[in-house]
Symmetry: C2
């Protein structure tokens, strides 16, 4: 895109930054059979790339995003962008995923809502968004669609596949499905099977959406859509990405500026008289925002409705629920039998959504199956989101694994 190139000349990217990037659309115009048995005549994946593909076309690192992520994982789209891509701390020239050396590829998942085909896409039959007529999506469907994109780009093999959370599930699926194509797997903060607790949280979020009177069985084009339900789903899910400790550090019980503190007390040792009644302190007692953590969560919910589609949220959480490699292949050992790639798994002690034990479980199965696999457990206080945050420890592990 000439504009972007011009901009680069005017304001070159900071050293170490990916800088200005743009998204592309891969349009696959052949029938695509979903694992559910449903078929679409084709699909689109929106993707970004950073760095240069080398002559052997074998230096690609695929980045797989999590539930609420997208293809824009590094760099900026415009010089006025307030924030770079979601994994910009991890990807760039000289960073853990070094774009001086690697060609980095990240696509919005099938079923997503950031440009790839999903329930928000227009159904050519009706001229309206698919809604619930979109086929059910699995993690395997997501990976199969990404493989077609890799073929389209003429890649001979993948140097590595990297992702956390649902991204980590895709990483495992890549290693299983295309063993000869993938050389290194880096699953982070993930699992080989969605747990009952994780399914439970997904289900509450879906109910919040589907019980919202604005959902209309998924057919809400033209109306506002189930914004309230989606915001509530996001608020709840966001708690599961943090930790008790990090929320205490970040917010504690701090009140917002508008909230008055309750008057302090003296124990009523006599046991009868009430202390002098405080004035009717409506600012201290209200169901409006009083605590900073409430304000933060409401903001998370409200900003999510501007960038995410409620039906996509249903589809992708259902894909998570269905993820169970042992059930799909008979056992983890059978699932991993053909894997050729070497694996580095990193888990985080404060992650209670996909806790260390769930990560260790599949690493042990890889080892039992005779595969090369390492496991590292980083001590953090930041919960599941630890994999996304600045961590020299994580960078060093990934750099070491990618250069050996």
């Amino acid at each position: 895109m000439n504009d972007a190139e011009d901009d680069v000349l005017i304001a070159p990217p900071e050293p170490g930054e990916v800088g200005l990037v743009e998204a592309h659309d891969f349009v696959h115009s052949h029938p695509f059979a979903f694992e559910s048995g449903q078929v679409l005549p084709g699909f689109t994946l929106r993707y970004e790339t950073y760095g240069r593909l080398d002559a052997a076309r074998d230096n690609t690192i695929v980045i797989c995003h999590a539930l609420s992520g997208d293809h824009h994982c590094a760099g900026i789209h415009a010089l006025t962008d307030r924030k770079p891509g979601w994994w910009n701390n991890f990807i760039g020239p000289g960073k853990a995923v070094d774009t001086n050396r690697f060609f980095v590829l990240c696509a919005n998942v099938l079923g997503g809502c950031q440009g790839s085909s999903g329930p928000l896409s227009i159904d050519p039959v009706t001229g309206r968004p698919f809604g619930l007529a979109f086929p059910f999506v699995t993690v395997r469907d997501m990976v199969r669609a990404q493989k077609l994109l890799c073929d389209h780009l003429g890649l001979s093999s993948l140097y590595a596949v990297v992702g956390g959370s649902m991204g980590g599930m895709q990483v495992l699926q890549w290693g299983i499905e295309y063993p000869a194509f993938v050389r290194r797997l880096i699953p982070l903060a993930t699992t080989a099977r969605e747990s009952a607790q994780a399914i439970a949280f997904n289900e509450v979020g879906r109910q919040a959406i589907m019980q919202d009177p604005e959902w209309h069985h998924g057919d809400y084009a033209g109306s506002g859509g189930p914004h309230v339900g989606l915001a509530i789903a996001r608020m709840m899910a966001h708690i599961t990405y943090l930790s008790d400790q990090s929320m205490d550090q970040k917010f504690g019980r701090r009140k917002t500026a508008g909230a008055a503190a309750a008057p302090s007390r003296k124990p009523d040792v006599a046991g009868h008289a009430f202390p002098p009644a405080a004035p009717a302190t409506s600012a201290a007692y209200t169901f409006d925002v009083q605590f900073e953590v409430e304000s933060y969560l409401r903001h998370q919910g409200e900003s999510f409705i501007n960038r995410f589609d409620a039906n996509s949220y249903l589809y992708i959480t259902r894909a998570l629920d269905h993820f169970d490699l042992a059930a799909a292949y008979g056992s983890l050992e059978q699932a991993f039998a053909a894997v050729e790639a070497e694996t580095l798994c990193v888990a985080f002690t404060s992650d209670w959504l996909f806790p260390p034990a769930q990560n260790r479980e599949f690493v042990l199965a890889l080892l039992r199956t005779g595969k090369r696999a390492s496991y590292a457990e980083l001590t953090t206080s930041l919960g599941h989101d630890s994999f996304l945050l600045e961590s020299e420890e994580l960078y060093a592990l990934v750099r070491g694994f990618l250069t050996r």
Copy 2:
């Protein structure tokens, strides 16, 4: 009540069971000033008692209930009752709280919806339920109202106060507020300050209720009320009462009878052809209930709306949010300075809502303040609800503490 007595003659209670019980109303007809500064001309507490008050009137054990509990903690109201009171395993003749020896008293909290004054009560001014016109309630207000009930019953002192979760907060407040009146405190699975994470979950639940179009700013008498929001709040909260491990043991990834399994897979080593497309397996891919854990949660949500008032849920979760003894009294040491009772605190390793560290925190403060306090940590897999469940270990600790 003669009917009940007749029934007892026909079918005497099982040995070791409290048997048939009935609730009573304590009507306090004097102005009651809430901590918020708001005043009601009076209030009602619904309560039950088991066992006999002795001549010295000093053998009472007060039971304090949690967020969704009530005054009916043991025995049955009718021979046809399917379930006894919520702590029937813990309270009864020869049980941990021995009704052969103690007079047990449990009241529905102020702000509740099971017969005590709360937002569901009729406002004499309007002839309609108070709704949001009901005064804000704190844990201290709950305890002060219970003290007035104790005075009404002519109790000279309390042998002990026992409760878990929000009940444990009341236990601590009892010891602080009426130090000369209470001889033993048994707080279980609780905290001296609601954490940011716990406030966050409460806030999501409140938003689910308050954003339900049927909430009508709390004025939903005559209409159905915010059933959807209340059910969603309950589903989410219920997850926080369990544990990852217990949900895996109880439900795992088991499908409901109606849900078909997805067909099992073979890795697609060639990397191109799709496996034979399964028939459009709508039973395997749906947003309806597929997993047992979903079915269980939906049942929890649906049954809750039949027994709980949405406004009460707002009031009581807000009381939890406001609970912070250190902030209210300047420090935990100042809060506990006047405490005369001896304390036994029991925490549970799998409780992540009020985890062991939050329990240890106030026990350490009691010890630093020179009080008699013991702490026991039971290894369980059942999460926060562990305090409610059968546990010979818990019973033995409580029995030992109550008999020394």
